[in-house]
Symmetry: none
DNA sequence: CCACTCTGCTTGCAATTGCAAGCAGAGTGG
DNA sequence: CCACTCTGCTTGCAATTGCAAGCAGAGTGG
């Protein structure tokens, strides 16, 4: 169960190569690997490094991802459906930024939920403003205050608020 | 230019690990590799196989793709902002909430990029305190003002900025 | 001080990768 | 038939991976 089917990567490469009507040696050259090695990879006798895999994908002009998925190295297209998952997976953010985004998102969710409940039965006092209101709970307002409140100064305070 | 920087995969792993506040041995165990090997990978002395890379990604609970991109094994042609996709697809948010989240996210991205350029020179750990400044550009501060600053005013603007 | 437990790193070695060289079979053309 | 050129495969070996064992330093607690 652990390994999807590591061996099948070779078969897959061979299939793709034959479909492209190119010889083993041709692909080997295009991919920058030796032909014996490619032969062994296709037959499952060798476990190519990620780099080699990538070069082969280039040589085949197929998506590297397709190859990695076949190799069981990528979970087959992680569904980005979940906002939190996407945020967590986003390497372009700092951990702190991630946390803030998630906090905001969750507060939005809570708020929206409460709002939805209101439409059926009256639960909470609500702002007059009809559709567009976006409120943040107190804790989050506090968290955002440094950014939203300060208007005159560009330099955000260096105050460290731990934990 | 083509290759981002193959060696940086190790640094990237180390960064992610330290950000997650786990020790080398802990990650090694979580990833199912030996601690000496992980040490060598992080320092760029070893070129891990695709499989190992995948396990490490799992251990770090980050996207395998992010790691492959870092390793220069995937062309990163994919929009790295699955976050935006996820936000757009989230039916539990109001349109206004979505817009705010996306705005914040994008400003974070800009900020992080600038920060990375700064720190790319020295491979040192960042500020010890995780208190990293999370700043928002002026336009965003303005956008958030109604929520963070004042609580009484309902008069949300009707201006629709079609994007 | 001493024992214990973390931290990451170094060493030495079996296992594996990756390739140069070469083999056998099929096809082409003189 | 013979020479040549494809096809993919096998062999043997240097280079590399990946790990068990162990080291040194820092921190904790008796």
């Amino acid at each position: 169960m652990a390994l999807p089917k590591v061996g099948s990567i070779g078969e897959y490469i061979r299939e793709q190569r034959q479909q492209a009507k190119i010889s083993l040696r041709q692909l080997a050259e295009a991919a920058g690997v030796s032909n014996p090695y490619l032969s062994q990879i296709e037959r499952g006798l060798r476990k190519p490094s990620a780099e080699i895999l990538n070069q082969i994908a280039k040589g085949l002009r197929i998506s590297s991802q397709a190859l990695y998925v076949q190799a069981g190295l990528i979970e087959d297209r992680e569904p980005p459906s979940d906002v939190i998952t996407a945020i967590r997976a986003d390497t372009h953010l700092t951990e702190r930024q991630r946390q803030v985004l998630i906090d905001i998102y969750e507060s939005f969710r809570k708020e929206k939920r409460a709002e939805d409940e209101q439409t059926s039965q009256n639960a909470r006092p609500r702002h007059d403003s009809a559709s567009d209101d976006v409120t943040l709970p107190e804790e989050l307002r506090a968290a955002l205050e440094p950014y939203a409140a300060a208007s005159g100064d560009d330099n955000v305070t260096q105050e460290t608020k731990e934990g």
